[in-house]
């Protein structure tokens, strides 16, 4: 693994190339032409079509504002009718009661909306999330009721605009219609272009940051409350302007019509959802679809609304990014390109995952069959693929959220059956000559190499790993297989001394059925490194890969062993979640459980193993420290430790979670590490060259964010990163991290490098040992004597001197102390001890005499 760090296997990231400016210019040229054409339309359109166009343009403005509010600022409002109504009433009051020109009154509408929003916001910004939404509705109701008791505004029965006021706009009706049409067109252009301009500005970037992660944005100095308030007031002003326009056309208003939740909010929300939330193109497309549907179905009355509601609910379920989201995902088309910090999900599908291709060519051009095919969907593997009784679970590409495959979700019955099958197959497998077992393992190694491109693809997409890590995982597995195959020929026991005239010997025998539970971070190698030695020693295996990564962690291994000629039933695969694991750890036909994963779940596994008297081998989390002494080479050390903390997004049990740096070099070290962190690129590893891919799921990403946030609150400082875009977390460096912070005490499992300083060697050792975990540690110094002295005093299963902690090699006994494991080791000759048990046999020629 350390070779990756030094040989530059990690690609230099290329700058993300947006579409050329030619493309953008031609799109904008076309739009400008469209606007000019629309502006000329009154010359040819009749009155009815004009009024429809006006309504369409006004709805477009309303939708664009709601989109800015909810899609970008995350303020889901169901009370925008408050501002439509306030705008309308202000227009009537200023034009009819105060005698102003209607166009001047219209400006007053906008101001009224802003003032109303400032007052309403003062109340509602105390509420969070869903409560804010429903609060907006209450506020709209309060506006309605208030207007209804104001006799000056017509009270509950309504208010008409005198004809004289309307005449001020022009005496000719057609001219008035044209004027209003141009106003509506102007508002629509302003709202679309304005939204776009806002989103391209620094303010827009801050707004996106707040939407993605309010906490991270605030850590970076963005005042999210203020930003949201500005958006709320701004969109309200625009909404009120549109409201003024609406009632300037209708000429009559009642409180119920002015503050109608259906007309001014529900329709608008439907438009945005159907078109696509959080995209400027969404409301454009949505408005066209909405008016299209309306012209088709409007005669049906309430049936139309039922259809509309169903379409919107369906869109939220199956197309949460709306129709435009679907179009953009298919074509990559963006009418309004924003400078995304990360481009996601637009990369071309990788060839070998192409559903049509059932076979592919290896490097020599020979056609080989594909490992994974659709007919394995929803299955468990019991020597052949069978449907899981426990149902199915979709497997997603972590970077894009796109569905890759459907896995079987094994239930307790599936596990029990697998254990029975494995138990039945074990006797014959264990009785095979060792050379026969070794042959299968060597053939497996060959199969891994032959299918490397396909397995790599799955590893990259299913786990979010960067491309160089996948072949590394596979090649390590290949070496492991060859090495372990050699162990099958090792001596299988001892001839023992005996004080009696007998032959006394001890021989190793298989344990029986080994249950293997593996995690999602490096599912292929972490399963292989247990399954291979267990099989080599004559055991059969029931493998439970994590349900988030069942293909490379389970199905692929099953297929490779099948091709290697492993007898049916010796390896069973039951993908599943916690309930599956629970069943496996309690199954009476399973004799040993090997678990790789979190300490929390490890305790549960050990508890169940205790109940059912299984041998339990645990390889758990770590909170690994690097000690950087004052004489270390900062340039080289930071290169190594950056890799240790950020490789695979820090989601490795060996990940370097604590940087203990001598106070005399701490500042220089922190600065160099931060520079390195800021130079790393984050994104979809299948679509572009990046150093870091996505965090496995939202929960983990949120956890990392919480730990960082909490440390900042307790006094630590972020010097690099600290922000995330969905699952993409930027490599983060933090200084002034103290031992009382959870960031220091807990396993982070994210790309965060916390720096803590020490003064003396004794203090450094004490700090490094100040954790319940004890997996790996590392020491950077030019003084080898000191390094060895310190290493002997560290309570970890692994110590690397002048290297970082993420190291895996076939020959080393790998495992942890303390909360990192229960003494289990994997790698090399440890397989003999881990996966066999002793049998003592004595042989007398004659039965000895006894005094009974």
């Amino acid at each position: 693994m350390s070779s990756i760090a030094t040989t530059g296997l990690v690609p230099e990231a290329e700058a993300t190339v947006n579409r050329g400016s030619d493309w953008t210019l031609s799109i904008f040229g076309a739009m400008a032409a469209l606007v000019v054409l629309l502006a000329l339309a009154p010359a040819v359109l009749d009155g009815g079509t004009m009024r429809l166009m006006i309504e369409l343009l006004l709805y477009l403005s309303l939708a664009q504002m709601w989109n800015l509010l909810a899609g970008y600022a995350g303020l889901v409002s169901v009370g925008q009718q408050a501002f439509v109504g306030v705008g309308g009433y202000m227009l009537f009051a200023l034009a009819a009661n105060a005698g102003l020109h209607p166009l001047v009154a219209l400006i007053g509408s906008g101001f009224a909306g802003a003032i109303a929003a400032a007052i309403i916001g003062a109340f509602l910004f105390r509420l969070r999330g869903p409560h804010f939404a429903i609060g907006t509705w209450v506020m709209a109701e309060i506006c309605l009721l208030t207007v209804a008791v104001m006799p000056g505004l017509g009270g509950g029965s309504g208010f008409s605009l005198p004809v004289a006021v309307v005449r001020e706009l022009g005496t000719d009706r057609a001219w008035r219609d044209s004027l209003i049409y141009w106003l509506a067109l102007g508002l629509a252009v302003v709202s679309v272009a304005g939204s776009y301009a806002v989103m391209r500005s620094r303010f827009g970037l801050a707004l996106l940051a707040v939407r993605d992660s309010e906490r991270a944005a605030e850590s970076l100095g963005v005042d999210s409350g203020r930003i949201k308030f500005i958006v709320y007031v701004g969109t309200a002003a625009m909404t009120a302007l549109v409201g003024g326009m609406i009632f300037l056309i209708k000429l009559r208003m009642t409180p119920d019509a002015a503050f109608s939740v259906l007309d001014w909010t529900a329709y608008v929300i439907f438009i945005v959802i159907i078109g696509g939330v959080g995209r400027i193109e969404g409301p454009l497309l949505g408005t066209l679809i909405f008016f299209g549907l309306r012209s088709l179905l409007a005669d049906l009355g309430s049936v139309y609304l039922i259809v509309l509601g169903c379409v919107a609910v369906a869109a939220m379920i199956w197309a949460p990014n709306g129709l435009w989201g679907l179009i953009a995902a298919r074509t990559g088309l963006e009418l309004f390109p924003l400078q995304h910090r990360y481009q996601r999900g637009i990369g071309a599908p990788h060839s070998s995952l192409n559903k049509e291709a059932h076979s592919m060519q290896d490097a020599a051009g020979k056609t080989i069959s594909k490992l994974i095919s659709d007919d394995m969907a929803g299955s468990i593997y019991l020597g052949r693929f069978e449907p899981a009784k426990g149902g199915t679970v979709p497997v997603t590409e972590k970077a894009t959220g796109e569905k890759l495959f459907v896995a079987g979700n094994a239930n307790a019955a599936d596990v029990a059956e697998a254990a029975k099958v494995a138990k039945a197959a074990q006797a014959a497998w264990g009785a095979l000559p060792p050379t026969a077992r070794g042959d299968v393992l060597r053939k497996f190694a060959a199969m891994c190499e032959a299918h490397m491109p396909e397995v790599s693809d799955w590893i990259i997409r299913e786990t979010g790993s960067i491309p160089p890590k996948a072949p590394f995982e596979i090649m390590t597995t290949v070496r492991e297989a060859i090495e372990v195959a050699g162990l099958t020929g090792q001596p299988v026991g001892h001839i023992l001394s005996s004080s009696l005239p007998r032959t006394s010997y001890a021989r190793r025998v298989p344990i029986g059925v080994v249950g293997v539970i593996t995690p999602w971070n490096s599912p292929f190698i972490l399963a292989a490194r247990v399954v291979l030695p267990a099989l080599a020693m004559g055991n059969s295996v029931v493998l439970k890969p994590d349900i988030q990564t069942p293909v490379c962690g389970g199905y692929a291994l099953a297929r490779l062993f099948e091709l290697a000629g492993l007898p049916a039933g010796v390896l069973c695969v039951v993908p599943g979640g916690p309930l599956t694991g629970e069943a496996l750890t309690l199954d009476p036909n399973i004799h040993m459980v090997s678990f790789t994963g979190s300490t929390l779940v490890g305790r549960r596994v050990a508890e169940n193993g205790g109940k059912t008297l299984k041998k339990v081998a645990l390889e758990l989390g770590g909170n690994n420290a690097a000690i950087i002494f004052e004489d270390a080479d900062i340039e080289k050390a930071t290169s190594a430790t950056a890799f240790g903390s950020f490789f695979h997004q820090g989601q490795i049990c060996f990940t370097l979670g604590r940087h203990l740096v001598h106070e005399s070099i701490a500042e220089a070290y922190g600065r160099r590490l931060s520079e390195r962190a800021m130079g790393l690129h984050v994104g979809d590893p299948a679509a572009q060259q990046v150093h870091l891919g996505p965090i496995i799921n939202e929960k983990q990403a949120a956890r990392v964010e919480t730990l960082v946030r909490d440390a900042v609150e307790k006094g630590a400082t972020i010097t690099a990163g600290g922000a995330r875009d969905g699952l993409f977390y930027k490599p983060t460096v933090m200084v002034n991290v103290t031992t009382d912070m959870p960031l220091y005490k807990e396993e982070i499992f994210g790309p965060v490098a916390p720096i803590t300083t020490f003064k003396t060697e004794a203090e450094a050792i004490a700090l490094a040992n100040d954790t319940a975990y004890g997996l790996a540690s590392s020491i950077f110094t030019r003084d080898q004597g000191r390094a060895m002295r310190v290493a002997r005093q560290l309570r970890t299963g692994i110590v690397h001197i002048n290297d970082q902690t993420v190291n895996h090699e076939v020959f080393g006994p790998i495992g942890g102390m303390g909360a990192s494991g229960n003494g289990a080791r994997s790698g090399g000759p440890s397989a003999l001890d881990e996966y066999t048990q002793w049998q003592w046999i004595t042989v007398h020629d004659e039965v000895p005499a006894y005094p009974f």
Partner: protein
């Protein structure tokens, strides 16, 4: 003096109904962290359900609960398991917009089936009976509703704190990930919580149908009342809903004495005051961890 006592008493009894409006909303939010914008429409749906039963087999409206409550509970289970579970724990926007869509669908389906006419169920004289004390009188029906509200809240309190499913519900609400590790099927638990909430919705729907007029579009008003009650009472306990309901009831009853058109507005004013002075409500949620 008598006037004051009278106003307070009316408000108190009205608060019982409001607390019932809020109980289901509070339960769903407490366990799933979802605000169901169709909550009010489901109350009206239950009322129409009772109406449909009474129209086909004449019986006392309260007896319809034997049919309406299980049907609503089943609907609640199905809605949660089939649709809303996929949104639990995601961002706040999706569940809001989906339930908002459901609200529009429910209103218009009711409109299509029952037309927009205003309806009311006949409680067999129960709703006009009154008990007099001194110079004034209190209605038997509001007293009954208040009693039911107290009983429902006691029952919810019992379910949540004294029964095995209650323990599972609270555990899942506090930490769904750990609950799953302990073998809890959280999807099922959410659906059960939803079923309980819908059973309460059925009860309040029928009680409302006898007390006041309703039509397919009156759901949102119920939702807003329920929401104000929850915010005033805080998210601490079901008793918070009771207290919030009573405060809102008393505010409305005072407003109505000043001028009938101020009744609802006075309730909103109290809501705004609480929002300004105690944004976490009067009984804020206490962290369990």
């Amino acid at each position: 003096m008598t006037l004051l006592v009278d106003i307070l008493l009316q408000g108190l009894l009205l608060g019982g109904l409001f607390a019932l409006y809020a109980a289901g909303l509070a339960l769903v939010f407490g366990v799933m962290r979802i605000v169901n914008l169709a909550h009010g429409d489901f109350i009206v749906l239950a009322a129409f359900g009772a109406l449909a039963v009474v129209q086909s087999v004449p019986m006392h409206p309260f007896l319809t609960l034997l049919i309406v409550a299980p049907v609503m509970a089943a609907a609640g289970y199905g809605l949660q398991a089939g649709l809303l579970n996929r949104f639990v724990g995601t961002d706040t926007m999706a569940p809001l917009l989906v339930t908002f869509g459901i609200s529009i669908i429910v209103q218009n389906v009711l409109l299509q089936i029952f037309s927009g006419d205003t309806r009311k169920l006949q409680g067999g004289g129960l709703e006009t009976a009154s008990i007099s004390y001194g110079d004034s009188a209190i209605g038997v029906y509001p007293l009954l509703v208040f009693t039911v509200a107290v009983l429902v809240i006691l029952a919810l309190q019992y379910i949540f704190f004294k029964t095995p499913i209650g323990h599972v519900l609270r555990a899942t609400a506090d930490d769904p990930a750990t609950a799953r590790l302990m073998g809890v099927s959280t999807g099922h638990v959410y659906a059960v919580a939803s079923a309980i909430a819908f059973a309460v919705i059925a009860i309040v729907g029928v009680l409302m149908a006898v007390r006041t007029n309703f039509d397919p579009t009156t759901g949102p008003a119920r939702l807003l009342v329920a929401f104000e009650v929850v915010i005033i009472g805080g998210l601490g306990s079901f008793w918070g809903a009771m207290v919030g309901g009573v405060i809102l009831g008393i505010a409305q009853s005072i407003g109505a004495r000043i001028d009938p058109s101020y009744q609802v507005l006075a309730g909103h004013a109290v809501f705004l005051a609480v929002l300004l002075l105690r944004p976490d409500g009067l009984f804020p949620r206490v962290a369990h961890r």
